[in-house]
């Protein structure tokens, strides 16, 4: 009787193990599936002309260069605003802020900012940047809108990275006659940098792939030329994909998948860079 029970227990354990492994595999499948699907369907569209040419024939032929350049501009523009502001906020929260009402309010705001639907950011950007500040539908307005959306990610990952640096480094540095800022700039930031960079890239990656926030603030349906200044509107990969998938009749399907593939590669490359930075830093870290 005992023996039977023992055997049963092993079988149950084995079954449980198999079930968990299967579930883990199931979570991986959609990712691999999506990438493989897009790769197969869109791979044939990729050519030098596709990557470096303008769309023509009502976007049913030609390339997607303006959308690629536009997404690059928007990502860089977002970085320009959100990175300094995000790191500064993280340094304040981790190194300077005392635990009081104001700090709690700031944290609450950041958490809530992360939960706002992206289309709401789009409307907010339209109201504030496009209309009130009169930036018009422009790269500037879209970048600022994306920055607000990206900020919570950058702030919270950077703050976490700063807090992970051992407290003893701060105490020792101060005891050797360093000011708080010297301690931060010479030791803490350097040690937290890989974590901060990872957060920045993950935030920007999300910004690069978003459609809703740029929909009303900076994205153009079609432009015959590249933008010349931050006050010009621009085409962008995610919006272009939306347009050619829903707004253009008789659209060749491989251009749609080709565009999706380019966007996917753009975002995944950033992801890989973030992963490499993180694992390298982890191997090099001395504490």
């Amino acid at each position: 009787m005992m023996k039977l029970f023992d055997q049963n227990r092993h079988i149950v354990q084995r079954l449980g193990f198999i079930a968990i492994t299967l579930m883990a595999l199931v979570t991986v499948l959609p990712i691999i599936g999506t990438v493989a699907f897009i790769l197969v369907k869109g791979g044939s569209a990729i050519s030098l002309e596709f990557l470096s040419g303008f769309p023509h024939d009502g976007m049913r032929a030609g390339g997607i260069l303006p959308a690629i350049i536009g997404t690059l501009y928007l990502t860089l523009g977002t970085a320009l605003f959100s990175v300094p502001l995000g790191i500064a906020a993280a340094i304040y929260l981790s190194e300077y802020a005392r635990d009081n009402q104001l700090t709690r309010l700031i944290r609450l705001a950041i958490i809530n900012l992360a939960g706002i639907p992206s289309v709401v950011y789009g409307l907010f950007g339209l109201g504030l940047f496009v209309l009130f500040l009169k930036f018009g539908t422009s790269i500037l307005a879209a970048s600022l809108t994306l920055s607000i959306m990206t900020l919570p990610v950058i702030i919270s990952t950077s703050e976490e990275a700063l807090r992970a640096v051992p407290q003893a480094f701060r105490t020792v540095s101060i005891s050797l006659g360093a000011t708080r800022w010297q301690t931060i700039s010479r030791i803490i930031l350097k040690e937290a940098l890989p974590g901060i960079l990872t957060g920045i890239i993950l935030g920007l990656e999300r910004a690069a792939g978003e459609t809703a926030p740029i929909l009303f603030t900076g994205a153009a349906f079609f432009l015959p030329q590249l933008p010349h200044s931050p006050f010009d509107a621009t085409m962008a990969l995610p919006y272009h994909l939306f347009v050619i998938s829903t707004q253009v009749p008789e659209m060749p399907i491989q251009i749609q998948y080709g565009t999706a593939l380019v966007l996917l590669v753009f975002v995944l490359t950033m992801n890989v860079i973030a992963t490499v930075i993180r694992s390298r830093a982890r191997a090099k870290r001395q504490w």
């Binding site: 051992p166 003893a168 480094f169 701060r170 105490t171 020792v172 540095s173 101060i174 005891s175 050797l176 006659g177 360093a178 000011t179 010297q182 010479r186 030791i187 350097k190 040690e191 001395q286 504490w287």
Partner: protein, 252 residues
């Protein structure tokens, strides 16, 4: 003997309500090792952290009293704490080398103080590492990461890092608590050399170490200074019952 430091009626209460020092008054003589000992929670570390104002980083509810170093009250809000910390160096219980090379660790404080001349910096590195009895072990690997060193070696690098700033006072908070007996011996021997030039205040990690190293000894119990006197006589012939009980190992 000149008193380098004079502590007058020092009391301190932390924000969490714990009282750490109660009306402590004592004079700390120059060029000697003064040992602060007693059971945990007695206020020894708190006193050390007052002497270089490291307690500024901690939430303090109330404090009163004065600490005079060379006649100047360092608890005065107008005190230049940066300059004070260069004058009063500190070695911690856990050896914490900064994540950089051995050389960079040593010159960290000097560079912050504005010293740029390479000859001066090199000189400081050699001098301080020699005084800390670690020069021979690291002289060929000054540019390697300090974190690769053993705990005992790291602690002597930490001591050298303090010495490099040429302070007047060196505070040591259980500097050998994590070290093996050989490393402990080396640190204690270094202290013996160092007291010729510096005023040393040591919180030892055992009564034995207190007895071995003390020129002067102060026994602390729950924030109060119970007995203070010459090292030799305090350990062999304590005047207070509490001191005697602790030294004899009857509690603590």
């Amino acid at each position: 003997m000149v008193d380098k430091i004079i502590i007058e009626n020092l009391s301190l209460q932390y924000s969490d309500g714990t009282e750490s020092l109660r009306n402590v008054s004592m004079g700390i003589p120059q060029n000697a090792v003064t040992v602060l000992f007693g059971p945990a929670g007695g206020g020894k570390s708190t006193l050390l952290r007052c002497l270089n104002r490291l307690n500024d980083l901690t939430e303090i509810k109330a404090s009163s009293g004065r600490i005079l170093i060379d006649g100047e009250n360092i608890l005065d809000p107008k005190t230049d704490v940066i300059a004070l910390r260069r004058r009063v160096g500190m070695v911690f219980a856990r050896p914490v080398t900064l994540p950089m090379s051995i050389r960079e660790n040593i010159i960290y404080g000097l560079e912050l103080a504005g010293e740029k001349r390479k000859s001066k910096l090199d000189e400081a590195v050699e001098r301080s590492l020699k005084l800390s009895a670690i020069w021979d072990e690291v002289k060929d690997r000054l540019d390697e990461s300090a974190i690769e060193l053993s705990g005992g070696q790291q602690q002597r690098v930490c001591l050298a890092r303090v010495i490099a700033l040429q302070p007047q006072v060196i505070l040591l908070d259980e500097p050998t608590s994590g070290l093996d007996p050989i490393s402990t011996g080396k640190v204690e021997a270094a202290l013996f050399e160092l007291k010729k030039e510096y005023t040393i205040i040591l919180v030892p990690h055992s009564v034995q170490q207190a007895a071995r190293t003390a020129d002067h000894a102060a026994f602390f119990l729950t924030g109060e200074l119970i007995e203070y006197g010459d090292g030799k006589s305090l350990f062999t012939n304590p005047k207070q019952k509490k001191t005697e009980d602790y030294v004899m190992g009857r509690f603590g």
